[in-house]
């Protein structure tokens, strides 16, 4: 057809002119230089395992489980979300998957039997797997990992070409799956170069402290960083510059007793006399039992949780935007609109100077570069030993002690110019609610 269209004697219509243009301009692209193309302009994509394309070797549940996981793995590192759709008309389905052998599913490229070619993908969203291959589900014996192949072919449908880099999931040849393969940093940047980085505001961010006893009876204090957005959360692995594989997770799954819609703020009051974790939501708050990993049902006086913020922290009324505890002055800083309320935990009362304007307590280091108010999160980071104020996709880092030792002119609690959250904490991506565990 292509040639025929090009040699057509009638004045070529728009379609023929394109095909002619395609023919004239074809130049082989060096395999390693091509970065791919953005195959979809929308971020929610529907997929379906074709009824006429079921594997003859794996159960339908196994096939769907693996494809759901494969799509989730891409969703965890890109702004794309995927949902299985078994009802809509076929033309509304963005990605169609199926198994076949030899001449299959109306495809123009035959499969070659067991060995060599195991699957292929077409840029209009069709993925075919050679049913003569011995595909396996994760962690079961030798054979070709259907999960790894599915992630590879989905990468093609999203617009990624073959990538000749060891460690890349887009290598053309299949490498037997090492224990748990994941989409590495470079492949993440490849897909993000097509679809952008993951952005979005957070409900709260905090470092959660855990105490562990070593074999020698010593108490070791560890922390984990958590990002929460509405009813979901991610554990962020600072040393690996990424979230935990498999996140996000529902708040209810990991934080027993907290509201399923998530929280507004987290505070850890930690000093010589007190070690108490609080979560705030709306006008209420809970104290959290880190030892037993659940909320306390009542406080030391027998009053049940959740309690009203105004009762527990006189002078402060919910809802608050966010809050954090500053160990230097033993005050909780509650943020609300453009104001900040400083609560003295030792005297159990509001500081006399409160409320104050946030700009007054946390002045901008560069005039005009300030969040002003309506913060999303105030996060004291043990990794950076300073506080970050997050609002939307931006954050402002508070001047730390080390900064002030280097430059005494910096104002105490001053806010450095804003930077983008995703340039500091990488690949914190939503997944479709249907794929939440």
């Amino acid at each position: 057809h292509t040639h025929a269209a090009a040699n057509n004697t009638e004045p070529p219509g728009r379609k023929q002119r394109h095909l002619a243009a395609l023919l004239r301009s074809r130049r082989r692209r060096d395999a390693s230089e091509w970065k791919g193309h953005m195959a979809f302009s929308k971020s929610l994509l529907k997929w379906r395992l074709m009824g006429e394309g079921y594997s003859s070797q794996l159960s339908i549940d196994e096939q769907k489980y693996i494809f759901r996981l494969a799509f989730r793995m891409w969703s965890e590192v890109s702004p794309l979300q995927f949902v299985e759709d078994v009802d809509s008309p076929l033309e509304d389905i963005d990605i169609r998957l199926g198994f076949g052998t030899g001449r299959h599913l109306g495809c123009s490229q035959r499969f070659d039997g067991a060995g060599r070619e195991f699957a292929h993908a077409w840029f209009l969203g069709d993925i075919h797997f050679d049913d003569d291959e011995h595909f396996t589900v994760p962690n079961t014996g030798s054979g070709i990992s259907l999960l790894k192949v599915a992630v590879h072919e989905i990468g093609h449908v999203l617009g990624l070409p073959h990538i000749y880099r060891s460690g890349s999931i887009m290598q053309p040849s299949y490498l037997p799956q090492d224990a748990g393969f994941e989409i590495d940093w470079m492949d993440r940047k490849s897909i993000q170069s097509l679809y952008g980085e993951c952005k979005g505001r957070f409900s709260t961010v905090f470092d959660w402290i855990r105490k562990e006893q070593t074999a020698y009876g010593e108490v070791v204090v560890r922390f984990n960083t958590y990002f929460m957005r509405d009813g979901w959360y991610w554990l962020y692995e600072n040393r690996n510059n990424r979230t935990r594989y498999g996140d996000p997770v529902a708040v209810q799954v990991g934080w027993h007793g907290l509201p399923s819609s998530g929280v507004d703020a987290y505070v850890h009051v930690w000093n010589r006399k007190t070690d108490a974790v609080y979560f705030f939501k709306g006008v209420q708050y809970w104290r959290y039992d880190s030892e037993n990993d659940q909320v306390f049902t009542e406080d030391s006086d027998g009053r049940s949780y959740p309690r009203l913020i105004s009762e527990g922290f006189p002078g402060v009324s919910g809802p608050v935007d966010t809050a954090y505890y500053d160990r230097r002055d033993a005050h909780i800083y509650f943020f609300k609109g453009s104001q900040v309320f400083r609560f003295d935990v030792r005297m159990h009362r509001l500081a006399s100077s409160s409320p104050q304007k946030i700009t007054e307590v946390f002045p901008a280091v560069v005039p005009g570069n300030h969040p002003l108010g309506n913060l999303d999160a105030a996060y004291f980071s043990y990794s950076h030993n300073t506080v970050f104020l997050l609002k939307g996709s931006w954050f402002w880092r508070m001047v730390s002690g080390r900064d002030r030792r280097r430059s005494a002119s910096l104002p105490p609690n001053g806010l450095m110019p804003r930077r983008e959250v995703e340039q500091q904490w990488f690949d914190i991506c939503d997944v479709h609610s249907s794929s939440l565990r």
């Binding site: 243009a21 067991a114 060599r116 070619e117 292929h120 003569d132 590879h152 299949y174």
Partner: protein
Amino acid sequence: EKVFHSRDHSDAMNDIRQAELITDTDTAQRFLSKYGFIRDGDDPQIPAGQTEVSLSLDLQEGGSVSRSSSPDLRFISALKEFQRVSGLPVSGVFDDVTKAAMNKPRCGVPDQDEELESAEQELNETAESNSTTTHN
């Protein structure tokens, strides 16, 4: 369905056809062509006036390829490109290492793709003039 007789379908596995292996320069050439290393209409022809033997003699030095093979420069450059991107020694010779690499299980999507800039520009212009064009 796959033909089977036993209750546990275990005999269904044995009628699976095996893929044709890459064994010589002919099958290697089809491989290179299929995955885009040799473009359509780019099939290596033996240049006029060159005999197969003399051609392979020129290329014999240093290569461990048997006398029967009849690669030409396009086939060699495609072979080298495949070897390069596969991280193999770039010898331009269809050797055992290259053969093994070609026989590895792999994805069916071509490695080389044609660049369509000029066409894409034209499409883009057309897209602007016709706002109803949908992008898939």
